[in-house]
Symmetry: C2
Subunit: 548 residues, 2 copies
């Protein structure tokens, strides 16, 4: 029976590996052979998945891919969650690849748009992270993947360390679908601290001759948190977290959410909220959470990736973080995004623009940045069936009449100052996203979170509780009412605002007993990076840029 | 620096393991010691995750858990996706556990309800699979998990074989959160066919003295497919798959979707739909797909679990199925459910009851079965951002006015005969789910898929295209129009039906050129299990119950 199988359909992988078998020692190849290996393994029109996370990238393999002969390797279709290195763009300029499915283009949003207009690149799809991962397992399975591991042993077992991120997801999709898994490895050791990926999921390994660095993308210096952010944090804690009993949540990255984190041990504790809110979080191990962890406020954290300088501190708190037997963080973006969709009751994020109905976007003219994870974490799925107090309370406020079948609702906050640091207003009558859509003839506007999903907008003026709005007019006036001196705010209607305050749709600080004068930096549990280090008992080791 | 860490917070796991270290040989314990081991490892109020999949269960560990002394082990909180063995219920009757978070209770829906009413059990939450997995990584991380592997080597590396299902998800959540992973193993070998779980994610192993069987839960005998199912399959293929160009989808399990699968090589091919529809599927490796795979219709399949008798066949088609280096299926329910949420454009399912607005439910009085995966696969997430033709076309039909921001929509079908095999009508004015809600004082009714998410209902009468309905009245009459001789159907209004046919909301077979007389068993690519075996060239080995 067995002889019938393994015939024609297994050949593709074998054929490719056979071409390079003289260069393979076990599964290892020499770094100087890597360009040749890629030329033999990647065929025209192949789907190639490049590991490009927020925090770590397969740098050596990305550079090497750009050195292949485009006469041999061309028309390849890149699958990549985050584009972050110049090499991620050059591969299109060099005529090696001409299609992409991606999630987030970081600083390369403008460049991507250019390449499309020059006809060098076709964007096949823009996805949130989870959508892209899902498609890796269906119609977009990689023929080849180029990934990175911190360490490997000689057999090829991999240790991904604190920044596991996308590695397990990419390798599972490729390896179990007969694709070829190529791994660059920073260090080869006899015994791994732990095994993150078993060697038989891996085909080819190469020791990278490059040094790679993890950048502290998610670290916010408490010294830079101003009193406006503190006021907004007080509004969020008292006006939302306490009211809805929010205990499972995600914070986006920014000074506003850092301010909330640093107010948990002080302001929130004084309000008697310890053991009641913010016990469970999905978030990278950001240093501004150290005081809240040390005082027992935040109890458990699941992370999509790591953060520079936090490894020893994380190791000291296996009760809080997911860690391996070696004590190092185990992160996993796929799982963290899943938690962001179905496990949490609240997402606190920020944005560049909000329109008068509550649609928000980070798209600006000439850039195609993509979405990352925000639409997923800030979105509702009608598939959710488990109940929690915040989900129920939000659902009850949102319910328009008693006949409706009751459903809960995820709380989705947009915390923005009325003006961006650039001086541009955060509130606009119409999003730039619609202009971008026209310009690039896209079928969907680049909206990050749809109005129906946003439940509260918080500015230095107050809270707009969109859950209680009963029609578009309510929404519009609620938003104008907290939009301050922006053109959108100046069009406010005092009569309507008074009505909305009565209905608790607009909530100014004084309405919930918050005195603006109390929003002082004294409230921050730590006022500097140095104080975070002290809270950590010296286990947080801030990157150089924060101590110079 | 290192000495500061690993102190108080790592103690819990060490303390537990130390208690049994005299019984551990490497990580192995004797099967006769297992009850004592469980008594020492599980503490009162612990969260214990029991592997209970659709297809495989940790039988030996479940039986052993029921033998612990309830004076030592009590008040435990069970986390379990599927309850399927008597032992999964006895643990509550025996006073060992008193809380549960689960997804699907299979045949034990009634028993669960009883236990709740007797005060022996508190249902903490009912979830879809993905929600429960998400919470394993946030607020419901297991202190101990009891899982099963097909094989292990002496070091404790695990081989889960074709039915990987929940194992990686449960172990990742437990192992990396300092919980204790206990594995029952069917066979101990020197060298594994492949490594599914590395040994350092595992704490305790025991060779099971029991024989376990995989039941063919998802196999449907083509001999039992009647002409009504064939007619409905024709309606779905021509009226929906062809119209919307559905290429990425999930089929529920039932004769209706089996009929569709068996019509792909015949009816769908004659319609010129090969290479246009149904190329990518999320589904268990069901035997009724063999003809469609062999004729090159279905090209890729990702599976939540395996299916009895299909292992050799799967091994012969690594181009279609996800398989390991050993050729055996790699299934993964978490990933498959993720594909079901974000990777597919259509879900074709069935239900017990549909109300006049399109809400559907499998709940009946006295049973609390839970949801499994249907609400997730049949639900929309506002987080989706990538575009496909079916999603776009469905979204355009659903859009009520041109001012709305355009969004796509997942196609969600309910394929039901107007009467269930029991003789009960499939269509009702009001779902039993609301009675159940009252009876058990639940906060949500047990609705499987909400009306807003269902896009088409298909019966032997025709198709109701709910996408084009503009108000509740439209929906009600569309549904009555295809509800046949049920009380709901008898209340139809001929004038309204004619209007809805004009508007293509009600589609009868003749409206799309389908002659009811053509719905013959001759159209089935295989008419019996034996013909499926022939299609597979003898590689499908049907379980005994299908060949007797």
């Amino acid at each position: 029976m067995e002889e019938k199988i393994n015939s024609k359909f297994k050949d593709n992988k074998k054929r490719k590996i056979n071409r390079i078998c003289n260069k393979l020692e076990n599964k290892w190849v020499k770094s100087e052979d890597i360009v040749n290996i890629l030329e033999n393994i990647i065929e025209p029109f192949d789907r190639v998945c490049i590991e490009g996370n927020n925090q770590k990238q397969a740098v050596f393999l990305s550079k090497s891919l750009n050195k292949v002969n485009p006469k041999l390797v061309h028309d390849i279709h890149i699958l990549q969650s985050t584009l972050i290195l110049p090499e991620h763009i050059e591969v299109f300029e060099n005529g090696i690849a001409n299609k992409i499915d991606f999630s987030y283009a970081s600083i390369f949003g403008k460049k991507l748009a250019q390449l499309c207009q020059e006809g060098k690149l076709k964007i096949e799809g823009m996805h949130t992270f989870l959508e892209l991962y899902a498609r890796y397992f269906l119609d977009l399975t990689p023929n080849v993947c180029l990934v990175i591991a911190e360490k490997a042993d000689k057999e090829g077992n991999l240790y991904t360390g604190a920044n596991t991120e996308d590695t397990p997801t990419i390798i599972e999709a490729t390896s179990f679908k007969d694709g070829i898994v190529i791994v660059e490895v920073n260090e080869v050791v006899d015994k791994l601290p732990r095994v993150d990926i078993p060697s038989d999921w891996v085909d080819i390994l190469v020791k990278s001759p490059l040094k790679t660095t993890i950048h502290p993308l998610f670290t916010r210096d408490p010294a830079k948190i101003n009193e406006t952010k503190i006021l907004m944090a007080m509004l969020v804690i008292k006006g939302i977290y306490a009211k809805y009993e929010v205990n499972r949540l995600n914070h986006g990255v920014g000074y506003s959410t850092s301010a909330i984190e640093l107010l948990l041990p002080t302001y929130a504790t004084e309000l008697g909220l310890k053991n009641k809110i913010c016990e469970y979080m999905m978030i990278n191990p950001v240093p501004t959470l150290i005081p809240a962890i040390e005082c027992g406020f935040v109890k458990k954290i699941v992370s999509p990736g790591g953060e520079a300088g936090m490894n020893l501190y994380v190791k000291s708190r296996p009760d809080v973080f997911f860690t391996g037997g070696d004590g190092t963080l185990r992160s996993n973006r796929c799982i963290a995004q899943l938690v962001g969709l179905y496990g949490i009751d609240l997402f606190a994020g920020a944005t560049l623009q909000i329109d008068i109905y509550g649609n928000s976007s980070t798209a600006t003219i000439n850039r195609l940045t993509g979405f990352g994870g925000a639409p997923n974490i800030g979105g509702n799925s009608s598939g959710r069936r488990h109940i929690s107090n915040p989900w129920k309370k939000a659902g009850l406020e949102y319910q328009k009449n008693d006949d409706e079948i009751f459903k809960g609702k995820k709380l989705v906050l947009q915390i923005v100052e009325t003006f961006q640091p650039s001086g541009e207003p955060s509130f606009v009558e119409k999003l730039d996203a619609f202009e971008v859509q026209k310009k690039f003839q896209m079928e969907l506007p680049l909206i990050m979170i749809y109005a129906e999903d946003v439940t509260q907008i918080i500015t230095e003026e107050g809270i707009a509780n969109l859950l209680l709005c009963r029609n578009l007019e309510d929404r519009e006036h609620a938003i104008r009412g907290i939009a301050g001196h922006t053109p959108v705010g100046l069009k406010r209607d005092i009569k309507k605002i008074n009505e909305l305050r009565e209905r608790k749709i607009i909530i100014y600080p004084e309405d919930i007993g918050i005195d603006r004068k109390d929003a002082k930096r004294d409230l921050l549990a730590a006022k500097s990076i140095q104080e975070l280090v002290e809270y950590s008992q010296g286990l947080y080791l801030p990157p150089k840029k924060f101590i110079d």
